[in-house]
Chain length 366, copies 2
């Protein structure tokens, strides 16, 4: 399934209320796709200090052929995904006189997508947003599903909304400027999609690892398209994370906790990699996953040169404590979405997540 298909330059995935277009060289048609998805009086492009110098001018110039357009640049990095930045971008839009007939265009990685999505969802009770992910992680995962959010001192994404985009546009050629560590980190979410829903995809990623890490655009396009398909199918069945969507949180309960305790010094995908190994071990301990599941996940992640153990500098007690501030906790008990084997998640009688006592988590954190 993952094979170069050079003749195919654009793939479109139906994500329910919107389409995800993935292609090589798609950036040359961004404005056309944006205007087709959501005709606006004005387009407000939000980008960050890393991405804007590379791609923003061309996009704004293209959009100006159709309507008014403006550029709003935020600092790069998770530390800028705050209510302060949200307030500043909102006030820039208000100062320009942007009305409800404005569309926000998020041009960047997960931080830009989450922040710009939150601006759009709260601007005059909601205006459209088009997501243009520029990192592998954002293409594979963050740009699909409609989650928006900002961080607070208490944790990641504690403030946010569900606000599905009007369209998602991904040009895999734009990944050529991406540092290799970020490409590896992006693969963690693709591997997760394999674990939770598709064993053959999991195997295919394993076989394609070197091409993916080198950034082969056709192989990357195939992986992005398949991950988006898998994620879109899950999200369509459960937009607001009441059931099956929780499976997408595999690796994220401990992953988020590690990310927070590390002070965001590790990349999100790196933390998810560690989180998947630990949570798979947890699933085995609880008799939910087949024996050996964690080892198989561990082996693929190691081949992708992703971390598979909690850095010893991060205190186990602090990580455990951080899980209790997780959005998925209920009545003070932390819930986990756990696999039964590669390609299948525990349904838990329709709940798709299970309350796990600290004593078990403490064991896998040893």
């Amino acid at each position: 399934m993952i094979a170069a298909a050079a003749h195919e330059t654009v793939r479109t995935v139906d994500a329910g209320s919107y389409a995800v277009h993935i292609g090589r060289g798609l950036r040359r048609d961004f404005a056309t796709h944006i205007v087709a998805a959501t005709r606006a009086h004005r387009y407000a492009v939000v980008s960050d200090a890393n991405v804007a110098p590379l791609f923003a001018d061309a996009l704004v110039a293209e959009l100006e052929g159709h309507a008014l357009a403006s550029l709003h640049v935020i600092g790069a990095g998770e530390e800028h995904k705050t209510r302060d930045t949200w307030l500043r971008v909102t006030d820039e839009l208000l100062a320009l006189g942007c009305g409800r007939d404005t569309t926000v265009v998020a041009l960047g990685g997960g931080v830009v997508g989450d922040l710009a999505g939150f601006v759009a969802s709260t601007y005059m009770r909601g205006i459209p947003v088009v997501q243009i992910p520029t990192s592998l992680l954002a293409m594979i995962d963050a740009s699909v599903g409609g989650k928006t959010g900002v961080d607070t001192a208490m944790g990641k994404n504690l403030v946010g909304t569900f606000h599905p985009p009007a369209a998602v546009l991904a040009d895999v050629e734009m990944l050529s400027s991406l540092p290799i560590a970020h490409r590896r980190a992006g693969l963690a979410e693709a591997i997760k999609h394999g674990v939770i829903a598709d064993r053959s995809y999991f195997t295919a990623i394993d076989h394609a690892l070197s091409a993916l890490i080198e950034g082969d655009p056709d192989v990357t396009l195939d992986v992005v398209a398949r991950s988006v398909e898998l994620k879109a199918e899950v999200v369509r069945s459960d937009m607001r994370e009441g059931g099956r969507r929780k499976t997408l949180n595999f690796g994220h309960t401990l992953g988020h906790a590690i990310e927070q305790v590390s002070g965001y010094s590790l990349l999100h995908g790196e933390c998810v990699a560690i989180g998947m190994v630990l949570e798979a071990r947890l699933a085995e301990r609880l008799g939910i996953a087949e024996d050996g599941t964690a080892r198989v996940i561990e082996a693929v992640l190691a081949r992708a040169a992703l971390p598979i153990e909690r850095p010893k500098a991060l205190d186990a007690g602090a990580v455990l404590g951080a899980t209790h501030r997780d959005k998925k906790s209920r009545a003070g008990v932390v819930e986990y979405a756990l696999p039964t084997r590669i390609g299948a998640m525990d349904e838990c009688g329709g709940a798709w997540s299970v309350a796990v006592g600290d004593e078990h988590v403490r064991e896998v954190l040893r």
Copy 2:
């Protein structure tokens, strides 16, 4: 239709995804209704410095019989409906460890309802809110329809979301502590409901004015119930204000502009009263409304001792300028929802609002 019905103590209006319960003495059953509508691990009651001393302790104590409960008091008045207050309440909830299994309970007037609704809609991507309006304006209008929001220096409700409540609970006996000016101001929205949708209701309010201003609970209950019915029907047909819901904005384009230019020294209902007279005159000028429509509205408002003219201290140019920052403006042109006669609004071919040039607005602002 508006007649004392002492035997009926609770009326329930179906507002689509939630119910509105209106009654005399309903406060004694608030906790039961809240728990029935949305069972939570924790209830966070948000109230303001005026209302909390009167009603919050009893409500929190009742809720503590079912779950954890906390009280969050904000300053009273529109000047506290800000992103700062939203941030502070959100951080209080986070510090308490409130998870997604928390329900916000908004106990107060429109400011509390809008602010607490915005907190709920953005807390961990959305948790339920129960609205308990304590002002006539909030009972009649603000608590139904799911609008949330905060103000910025640029205008009212420029930041916010649509987040329908899990339930609305109104006890008309709680209005006995309301200043008479606020009772009059609340009636402006009821009169608006008559203008936009029900001529006989408009006439009935006129006949019941003195009982309503004196605060007769049974007559008030009838008016609240009828207004909620009318508003709920409009909102059910158009949740996100794409069409017919715009009719609820009658009186509000100029009303909001006047409110803003006055520095919020006038009550919202007073500004809506002035706005309705001016917009009805605009509708007559444009040949949309029957001659005499404005005069009929003016007469009822005057009998309710509501203002019907722009205070001369407010500069007409400043009011006109403020309309351009209205959320309803499109491509820089301000749109108005206008009546054709008492009880009916101009459909404008399904758009339910019409772009009006400044020259016409300037005339009615003279």
